[in-house]
Symmetry: C2
């Protein structure tokens, strides 16, 4: 097996959200207990953009972008200058700290694109990188792809206080043993934990003290529940140039189909990201960049209403899971993911995930995608049609009881 074979062996995507369609369903009949559970199929592996439509206007600004022709088709690699100006002003307001359109902002092919470019720009072979567990699966895969060495940092998200529960002394230990980059998502994907102000300040302080670059994925930072305060690491950057923040008009705004994200922060890292973008995909699709105009410019009350509706689904789903004996689950404080830890079952959890799909028409993402220690968890994106989502969770629960060991 060559080095490259091993590298791609680690990049398995069979269980990645949306890829289930490529799995052979195999012979599940040997494991299956009882009959199929009827119901509307629900795919919790990602949000349902049909259930939650984008704010009005996205398609209109897109069409106007096409009419702009070459100017919008061939933007700078870091994105159209006019749009960057607009977005920088919005992000300055959102985060409470200045974002420069000319030097510290890049438009990317989705937030995944931003994450790839940011990690590629900061992690070389052999570098130690601190990663939270559990966290978004691509963080770990990206670090491994570039030959980085992962130093895991714990997240006691089921703790009793309202912080995310990051192990700050574990983080400092990671920095002490030489981690030069720290990557995390806030709100945490998959758990829905949100980092408290004191946690964010501590991360900024430690990064400054140890000279660490921090990449924070804030994809869901507009979707914060219960009127909770959200602390931006960008605003806590005590030594400018250490932090890159990633965000974009995506699932929260139902604009994922346009594939546009942004990264902002350290000008030196943004410059590297642009150089790399030149050979990775040149730029985010020019015409798609246009939808940035509608981002943070939704009609008054639109985002509040979206948050209210998601909070209501969250409550209905969380209450049902929390009532089950042996299930541990955080009531998400932000984002649109629920991450229940299941009781012991009579089948391997990996098979249970396949059983859910074939016996109950419910797709979820196995916890192993987020941490090797989370094999007994499943992730649900609850940005779905409310009624079918509740019914699908009831089917999951019925199967948990059926397969309980």
């Amino acid at each position: 097996m060559t080095l490259l074979d091993e590298k791609f062996e680690r990049l398995a995507t069979d269980d990645a959200p949306g890829q289930e369609v490529r799995q052979r369903s195999g012979d599940l009949s040997a494991f299956m207990i009882g009959r199929h559970l009827p119901g509307v199929p629900v795919d919790f592996s990602h949000g349902d953009v049909d259930a939650f439509e984008p704010a009005p206007g996205a398609i209109d600004v897109f069409v106007r972008g096409v009419q702009l022709g070459g100017k919008r088709a061939y933007t700078e690699y870091r994105g159209d200058a006019d749009l960057r100006q607009d977005v920088a002003a919005k992000l300055t307001r959102f985060t409470g700290a200045a974002v420069s359109a000319s030097d510290s902002l890049i438009v990317t092919p989705g937030t995944q694109g931003a994450l790839f470019l940011a990690i590629a720009s900061t992690v070389a072979s052999g570098d130690k990188v601190a990663i939270v567990r559990p966290d978004y699966f691509a963080n770990q895969k990206l670090v491994e792809f570039f030959g980085g060495v992962i130093v895991p940092v714990g997240l006691a998200y089921l703790g009793t206080n309202s912080d995310a529960g990051i192990d700050l002394s574990g983080l400092e230990d990671a920095f002490k043993v030489g981690a030069k980059v720290f990557v995390f998502s806030n709100p945490n994907n998959p758990t829905g934990a949100v980092y408290g102000e004191a946690e964010i300040e501590a991360i900024a302080r430690l990064a400054g003290r140890y000279g660490v670059t921090v990449i924070v994925d804030q994809l869901y930072s507009r979707m914060i529940f219960d009127g909770r305060h959200y602390a931006h690491l960008h605003a806590a950057d005590i030594e400018p140039g250490r932090i890159v923040t990633i965000i974009g008009p995506s699932k929260t705004e139902s604009l994922s189909g346009y594939r546009v994200g942004v990264a902002f922060g350290s000008p030196a890292i943004v410059t590297r990201m642009e150089k790399l973008q030149a050979i990775v995909s040149l730029r985010a699709a020019g015409y798609s960049q246009s939808v940035l105009q509608t981002w943070f410019s939704e009609p008054a009350g639109w985002m509040d209403e979206r948050i209210r509706l998601h909070q209501a689904i969250r409550d209905d789903l969380h209450t049902r899971f929390a009532a089950i004996d042996g299930v541990n689950v955080l009531r998400p404080r932000g984002g649109s993911y629920l991450f229940p830890q299941l009781p012991r079952l009579s089948v391997p959890y990996a098979d249970f995930v396949r059983i859910l799909r074939h016996q109950a028409a419910v797709t979820v993402t196995p916890g192993t995608e987020f941490s090797p220690a989370c094999g007994n968890c499943i992730r649900l994106n609850f940005s779905q049609a409310h009624g079918p989502a509740v019914h699908a969770v009831e089917r999951i629960i019925e199967l948990i009881e059926r397969y309980r060991s």
Copy 2:
């Protein structure tokens, strides 16, 4: 300087097409001779999608894609299954050899995205890679980014016969010294040379004999002039699984603003490309994928007319350059690039490129982007409004005479 610093040092994009806007103009006045030349600004660094509009229907199928919602927003990482089916059938007809929608085709964020994924999937640190000189600048940058070692292969494109002029014994030597991957563009970017049938067959035979993977970038393979026959390497694949072909609805079709490309060929490599796409940008923008429907389905005669118009511009531009003493230039046989070699000038060629921009409002790409040996060449994308393009070339010629040494 760290390893990563060096890596990004090599990724300089200041002279890359479209990035000129980020250059400080510096003090050119010390070099400049005479007055500015008035005229409509022409940017030859890329095609003008305003001069050549896309075939009708692209925006309509895009809007229908948006209306499909989640199904189109969240495709498999390798692209929407229905669209792949359609495209595979079209590419089977175009190349004359079967393309499988399920196993050997991936939709990518532009052809640049395909090139990135293909090279990342085949080149590991220390691997030798054969690269034609001159050729598309990103080929070399990508190989270097992944730590590959370049083995250059010559292209005698100014030779007298009608082949591209690849040095086949040089190519075999590269394979003999251990190159396991060969990357080239056909039509050649920047020269407009097109590989002859015998050259393509020889490349396939050598690749088979030495177990080499070949990545061929056919972005411009629909734009072939003078009724010339075009030989597809895909159809010459004597040992299936050795070849990946890259193409997309882009400049030729004026659809670059949607950023969609495809790669097809070796199922093993396509599988790797998909795994990598999962962490690079998830997928080509879902809604943009829709425009693949209009590709190869243009109204009867549409492509012929487009070729005719480009051929006419080519002739007018080529004739003017060819008439100049000391200029060597191939009359392009495909694509939309012209690559004149300039006579000796009284200023460095790099400064002459900047002078063209500031004194004549003409943007060209310096030859050094394509080969270290092509410092005396400039590349022009002649997919432009005909009249202004001719006038811009007349201004270039006037400045060549003014700065001739």
